[in-house]
């Protein structure tokens, strides 16, 4: 019991505090730079603050189609990942069968191997098969690594959903589809929503695989990459960076709140 009352030493607190600050401060700095009056350099501290870059960013014609494409790709990839990931998770947690380990490895592989490998593999396959770049080639790449996010969330929830609930439903005369609709879906719903949000954030932000599968199309991350390599208007990049942080921040926060209470799923008592 003694350790419960023990306080952490100052050295540990300092080291841990430094680590946390190292993680958080760089993201906050983005927000400060979005309001700077300095146009040409990354001067710190900013010489003054202004809101005018928001107007300039609004007027830029190249940002909004890129944002729209990113949102569309993320939405479609998320839907594909939700369907494939949930079905796969249901099968894997349904019982033991031949090749079960291989399937879970196959699902995880796209994020275990560096993204560039996925990217160039898809690219070379497209060129071998003479498939032209399109909206769907981007989705093809994104859904591949989004499946695992949905799958992980769904598998974790299936594991905690008591099998006796499903058996009870069947005993009471419900068929498989009714059981799915009225028992399984309400139980895994929040996990799917959380997985979907994370998949959306992942796809919205993806750049490494996308550079290989987009061709001439430009998603928002590709636009940012272009600006990072050949800056044109730095303050506009600052604004877009802040918007991207906010767009990914909200789903992550949502996913956190949805899975936080995941321990108290019905049927846990069993």
């Amino acid at each position: 019991m003694r350790s419960e009352g023990q306080r952490p030493g100052w050295g540990l607190r300092l080291a841990a505090g430094f680590g946390l600050a190292f993680l958080i401060v760089p993201i906050l700095i983005i927000f400060v730079y979005a309001f700077t009056t300095e146009e040409k350099t990354f001067q710190w501290p900013p010489p003054g603050f202004t809101l005018k870059w928001f107007g300039v960013a609004l007027g830029r014609a190249d940002i909004w189609p890129a944002l729209a494409l990113s949102l569309e790709v993320a939405a479609v990839s998320t839907i594909v990942a939700l369907i494939l990931g949930t079905l796969c998770a249901a099968a894997v947690s349904g019982g033991r069968f031949f090749g079960r380990e291989a399937i879970s490895l196959l699902v995880i592989l796209p994020i275990a191997l560096p993204g560039i490998i996925t990217g160039i593999a898809l690219r070379s396959a497209f060129s071998l098969l003479d498939i032209p770049f399109s909206f769907w080639t981007i989705v093809l790449g994104h859904a591949t690594f989004c499946i695992v996010v949905v799958y992980n969330n769904a598998v974790a929830r299936f594991r905690r959903t008591s099998g006796s609930l499903i058996e009870a439903s069947m005993d009471l005369g419900a068929d498989k589809f009714q059981t799915f609709r009225h028992v399984i879906l309400p139980n895994i719903g929040t996990a799917l929503l959380a997985g979907g949000m994370l998949a959306f954030a992942l796809s919205f932000d993806e750049v490494i695989v996308t550079t290989f599968t987009a061709g001439q199309q430009q998603t928002l991350p590709l636009w940012m990459l272009e600006e990072l390599i050949r800056p044109r208007q730095r303050p506009v990049t600052n604004i877009v960076a802040m918007i991207v942080v906010l767009v990914t921040f909200l789903p992550i926060l949502g996913a956190y709140y949805l899975t936080r209470d995941g321990e108290s799923v019905s049927g846990m008592g069993k």
């Binding site: 080291a15 841990a16 350099t41 990354f42």
Partner: protein, 315 residues
């Protein structure tokens, strides 16, 4: 009251009902149907592409025509051992190793603190502090560091305010790792990698430390061990699988990255960049494919070693 309930329930009505009955009788059919979509997608699209890539690494480029010759040969792999290519591989490995060690050192106190001491609201703060950088945009993170490391940026300013400007100059004048400014040096590349992959190290270590029984630590203290000794002989060995699990991510992700060294770095190439330029502008897909095999092989060996150390239980 007649008891005429049939011993066997009648078949369900309708196509869906019939289907449901079929699934009940043959559960394997249901599992198979559930698996087919994902297995097809990943098996055909993903594995198929990977195998196609692997196959191309055994082709080679004709030196005169610049066209890909479709016959199996190891000639492209031999090119990997040319001095300039071997340099790139070694440089990438050294960077991946440095990033892995540094992130383990930096991550351990944070993970340890979170696992053993933080409760309630502070635990939430910790969780968000780790997961937000983990999930927020990769490019935005790189961009934030471009801002921080710039010559006129916040780090130079900080060194000036603390009156240790000469220290920064001294660091930048170091051979190999120094450079014109932090954002054009290996130190800069290293810092950005460290920042981007750090959360991948913190989370597995935290999971591992949470599983270290408190009474072991108490016992060690009761037996007269100093905190340092307890750390060395009790906590570290038990947390090692977590560190190894985290290092899988930091190592693998650094090996394959091609954007960070392109944006923050001194222009010397890493494996990822070579793959990118060889398949794109240079049009030498066999060499690009052979280069991607390097991280795959290294990670294969790494994963095999990690499995021996029990790292997969800490994931």
């Amino acid at each position: 009251m007649s008891v005429e309930a049939p011993a066997v329930l009648p078949n369900r009505r309708g196509a869906l009902g019939g289907l449901s009955d079929t699934f009940w009788r043959r559960p394997r059919l249901l599992v198979l149907l559930l698996l087919i979509p994902a297995a097809l997608w990943l098996g055909v699209v993903y594995l198929g592409s990977l195998l196609a890539l692997l196959l191309q690494s055994f082709f080679h480029i004709d030196d005169f025509s610049g066209l890909v010759v479709h016959e199996l040969t190891l000639r492209t792999y031999a090119e990997l051992f040319k001095p300039q290519n071997a340099d790139i591989i070694l440089r990438t490995l050294a960077m991946a190793a440095a990033v892995t060690v540094a992130s383990a050192v930096l991550a351990f106190p944070v993970a340890y603190m979170a696992a053993r001491y933080l409760r309630g609201a502070w635990k939430v703060v910790f969780y968000l502090a780790v997961t937000l950088p983990l999930w927020s945009s990769y490019l935005v993170k790189v961009y934030a560091w471009k801002l921080i490391l710039a010559k006129e940026g916040i780090l130079t300013w900080l060194f000036g305010v603390l009156h240790i400007g000469p220290a920064l100059d001294w660091i930048l004048n170091l051979p190999v790792i120094g450079g014109n400014s932090l954002s054009f040096s290996f130190i800069g590349t290293f810092l950005v990698f460290l920042y981007i992959w750090l959360p991948y190290m913190i989370l597995p270590i935290q999971a591992a430390v949470e599983r270290v029984p408190v009474n072991l630590i108490d016992a060690s203290a009761d037996l007269g061990a100093s905190p340092l000794k307890t750390f060395r002989h009790v906590i570290l060995p038990l947390a090692l699988p977590g560190i190894v699990a985290g290092s899988i991510f930091t190592f693998s992700l650094t090996l394959g990255d091609y954007i960070v060294p392109q944006i923050v770095g001194n222009g010397r190439l890493f494996i990822g960049q070579v793959v990118y330029t060889q398949q794109g502008t240079a049009g030498n897909i066999p060499l690009a494919a052979a280069f991607t095999v390097v991280p795959i092989v290294i990670m294969g060996v790494y994963l095999w070693a990690a499995r021996k150390l029990g790292a997969f239980d800490a994931l």
